[in-house]
Amino acid sequence: MTTKFFGEPVRRREDARLIVGKGRYLDDIGADAYAAAFVRSPYAHARVVDVDVSAALEVEGLLAIYTYEDLTGPMAEPLPVLIPHPQLHAPRTGYTLVRDVAHHVGEAVVMVVATDRYVAEDACDRIAITWEELPVVVGVDAAQAAEHAVHPDVPDNIAARHHQETGDVEAALAASAHTLSFTQYFERSASMPMEGKGVHARFDPDDASLRVYSSTQASTSVRAAIAAKLEMSLDKVEVIAPDVGGGFGVKIVHPWPEELLVPMAAIKLGHEVKWTEDRREHFVSSAHERQQRQEVRVGYDDDGKITALDVLVWHDNGAYTNYGIIVPINTATQLCGPYDIPVYRAQVFSVYTNTVLVTPYRGAGRPQGTFVMERTMDRIAQERGLDRLEVRRRNLIQPDQFPYDWGLTFQDGKPLVYDSGDYPGLLDKLEALVGWTGMEERRAEAAARGKLLGAGLAPYVEGTGPGPYEGAHVQVLGSGKVLVSTGLTSQGQGHETVFAQLAASELGVPLEDVEVTTGDTRRFGYAVGTFASRAAVVSGNAVALAAKGVREKALRIAADVLEADPGDLEIEQGLIQVKGTPGALIPLRTVAVLSNPLRYAFDEAARQATQFAGPADDSKPPVAVGDSPGLEYTDYYSPLRSTFAAGAHAAVVEIDPATWEIDVVQYAVVHDCGKIVNPMIVEGQVHGGVAQGVGGALYERMAYDRDGQLQNASFMDFLMPYASEVPPVDIDHQETPSPLNALGIKGAGEAGVIPGSAAIASAIEDAVGRRIAAMPISPSELYDLMRSDTAEVVTNTPTTTGAMA
């Protein structure tokens, strides 16, 4: 393929509409729609004794009230377990409206539909629910203790026991020269996109068809779920993801109760209905991620080389397991990162708590895994008296070890095999980028200013681009316009731009001629969704393949017209020409016209393709057997297995010993996502990921009290970073192409967030000399740690002497 646009930092095509307020987000749709609002459980665990709606019935503008009693057929059954797994032995999901027991604060109990949202909320306020409170389980420790059960038929609160190993870890630990064991904690955060969820549904009773807009990451599967739950034929349901204001994982979960209830109401009321999630609803009824307790045992030799690693993870999956155990599987399988660990065992207990369900948030289990691995590396370095960078170097998988087969099974059910990488290269670049060897001078300089300076680093490996597949359709119109569609959705990543770059490069057309549609089931019905840094890898390769199919057909038709061999033709700027023969050319748009033999000249271009327009070969039918009219092609890319991107981050912090405020003064990223389609977009993804990593390390947590009430369910109290909290980010790239796909690309979406907590914990520990075994950490927690008599004192080997140790 030509590489005219591949690798170029072309400006985004999405932006033209978004910077003038012409985006079309969910709540911008359906100006005349009725509004839905929900009465949600105020209790973390309670039985519904009675629902009294009588006072609400007097509200002027009320149109309908729905409770569980109004649900029939599949709608009355529990929500699906989206990703079943043999080791998820006790899956539990809620109902679209609470049937009898609410298992977390925020579960929807009653849906109200009214003329507008104000009126709907008036009615909600007048609905009186009598509750019988039940004992509440919050946090992994309480879940493990199992004094109370979240679900009575799961008395130990354990939803899944996941177990993978590569050898006899007990024997390997016993044979190790040195061992360490420790326990640490990782808190909850959440995707928290600026736009919450939302659903708009419109039913056409004349042809019994339903159009649903949802702020989703998986429109094709939402469509299938609606069809199944509402007992409709798939061809009567279309689902469109419009402009979506960020996802980061929370919108991959589906069907959310509202995605089923809003269409149901639209059908019953014969009128369009819309629900727009408000921020408090998003906090208490969407999804969170990350809380784990991690018990680690590691064996290593005199040189600090790991000989065995055993990890036991207690993973809080919240009240339900709608999304299966993908998150803890990611932790278990991605934990070892770039290191060559001869014997590894991961055991996960995924437990129920009376809190919002836990599903992937950018990074999806990997930040926790990296936290285990990198905190382990720091401990080994400290115990052995080695520089922290050096101990990591000694344990790296080397470039000649690829493909590196772990003997584990990844979250996509495929073997965990690293496709390619250069991990020593990453650390070399990071060392230079952050100035690792000059850190002692900086520490002294900061000390002179009364500040405690510390540095930390953390590499990671991220499985990206899992299957099963994505597809794409590419069509050239008689106008010369090129339509590209893929079923995968967009939440701001710049897919319209990147897929246009790929199609334009393959087809040899100007970028302006390409129009890209994503996440619209009317245009492309088969898709999986946007998650796991897979869009560029899977849909990107599908777009390139479909464009290649169009190119081949165009050259075949053009070769006939130009009486040339297809192999002698090239496409440049939308013109097909015989290489080296100026003047022998035909525009691609003319080929598009000729590709569709016509009877009717409905426009000027069509005239060229009608039956009397030119000489014809009467011995052949107008459309050859096996061929089809139109210059279009559909193709799919189904990867053999995941690609593996990698990177390494370093953080430098300065801490004020009076206030214990933690300031990240430098943040360095070396990033390898294989071949880069658009470096501007990749860097933007890294910037955003790092901001979320810093937020997760220092500010964000879901503060549940012991009654299961989320104490900080607003932007006033849940501290998402503003510009003032995000450090400047220095980025260096390394390109190790993936051998698994034709474009050589890996994914980039999640990379920025993964090692944030690990690197920053390491830097804080380095600065203050106290063990950091729980993240996030606030200034007051650091203050308490410094005053604690039991806090473990730790000393890092100075970075300047590391390589000599």
């Binding site: 910077i19 003038v20 600026m194 933007g684 901001a691 503003y722």
Partner: protein
Amino acid sequence: MTSIQTERTISVTVNGVPREATVPVRWLLSDALRHGLGLTGTHVGCEHGVCGACTVLVDGEPTRSCLVLAVQVDGCEVTTVEGLSRPDHQGGEVLHPIQEAFRECHALQCGFCTPGFLTTIAAGLDARDAGTPISDEEVDELVGGNLCRCTGYANIKKACRSAAEKLREAAS
């Protein structure tokens, strides 16, 4: 018997166009703009005044439209993201330099918070002496009050500096 007035007619100049509207007195300005006038470029991110996505200009001052009732802007001039561009006197539109800079610097991803940043920064840039180079402190001040979950703010700051520079060139 007292009667409760639930609606009121207000006169507002929105994006330069004088308008009259009868709105429920409890409607937020954000709802009146979005659902009353169809100006959906103003986005609602938190409805408690923290994220800044809904920021519009009321008589030129950045204002969180989720914290203001529509009836409170009776007699005011309101500018939304749709009103930041200016006619080019040839039937087209000229974007505000900060809008151009956002695109040029990749300062937006999902675009949901973008209108609030654009209105806030545009007001700040228009209010300052365009001939003076912008300082880092000024940039921090202009972008510091709004939340963005996608970009990590680096490119928003870059766009700020770039737009200020364009304005400086135009002023000199």
